[in-house]
């Protein structure tokens, strides 16, 4: 909830148009919810990014030290969920971003990094 608002405000400040603000706020909502649901707590980092071609972007990092995702490939499929969710959070977020990276292990938890360029 907080993440949504903060991310949208940052997207506005960076000059993203409305549809991209909405995409970024939605990604923030989905992935921040995953942290709370599966790890209990973690952090969301939002930082401006600069593409090699000069475009501005927004990078969002979602980190937790939970138990990690046992099967990332399955988790990235539409409709797959081990929780109560719809299974749209991860695959949906990937479609809303330009870059999407997920690193997860039982020892170090999960880190999802997404970037959207203007």
């Amino acid at each position: 909830m907080v993440a949504r608002g903060e991310v949208r405000a940052m997207a506005v400040a960076l000059g993203f148009r409305l549809i991209d603000q909405t995409r970024l706020a939605t990604v923030a909502s989905e992935l921040a919810r995953n942290i709370i649901k599966y790890a209990g707590r973690g952090q969301v980092i939002a930082q401006p990014a600069r593409h090699a071609d000069g475009r501005t972007g927004l990078r969002l990092i979602f980190e937790d030290s939970g138990r990690g995702i046992p099967n990332i490939e399955a988790a990235m499929r539409d409709g797959f969920s081990t929780g109560r969710g719809l299974g749209q959070g991860l695959p949906g977020s990937r479609r809303l971003a330009h870059e999407f990276e997920i690193v997860s292990s039982p020892e170090r938890g999960t880190r999802v990094t997404v970037v959207r360029w203007i």
Binding site: M1, T22, A25, L86, G89, G92
Partner: protein, 148 residues
């Protein structure tokens, strides 16, 4: 007082009108769902009109809630219409992979009321008289007068 109490549920004829004007967290969404269903039971309304024109974001959780409300309301013999989805929200919903299954969507409240009214008219002639009232004014009241 939880967040959902800030969202009014208005009875307009035999329709519950729910203008969602605040960004909702998950708990607010769940509480709102429960309130709508108990209002359906209490009032015997036949339709639910949820206005989300002021919502700047609908994520998978809110989307699922809208589908769930529609399914549950249907079991209680009521039809649900969601009105006023912003273009950016519609695009994001589709990209997320949400279909809002079982939910009718229309552009504005007028269309929503019209759609629900047509639905009642087709099923229940006794509603016609009251449905005509809906065209003129929006009012909140208890029991339908002509049943008295």
């Amino acid at each position: 007082m939880n967040g959902s109490q800030r969202i009014p549920i208005l009875k307009v004829g035999r329709v519950l009108v729910v203008p969602v004007q605040v960004d909702m967290d998950d708990q607010t969404v769940i509480a709102l769902q429960e309130r709508i269903l108990s209002e359906l039971e209490r009032t015997g309304a036949r339709g639910v009109l949820i206005d989300i024109s002021l919502l700047e974001m609908v994520d998978s959780f809110i989307g699922r809630m809208l589908s769930d409300i529609a399914s549950m309301a249907r079991i209680m013999d009521a039809r649900t219409v969601v009105v006023g989805i912003q273009p950016a929200v519609a695009i994001t919903l589709v990209e997320l992979g949400l279909e809002l299954r079982g939910v009718d969507t229309v552009l504005n409240v007028d269309e929503g009321i019209k759609l629900l009214r047509d639905e009642f008219g087709a099923h229940d002639e006794a509603d016609d008289e009251e449905d005509d009232e809906l065209q003129g004014e929006l009012h909140t009241f208890g029991e339908p007068r002509h049943h008295a």
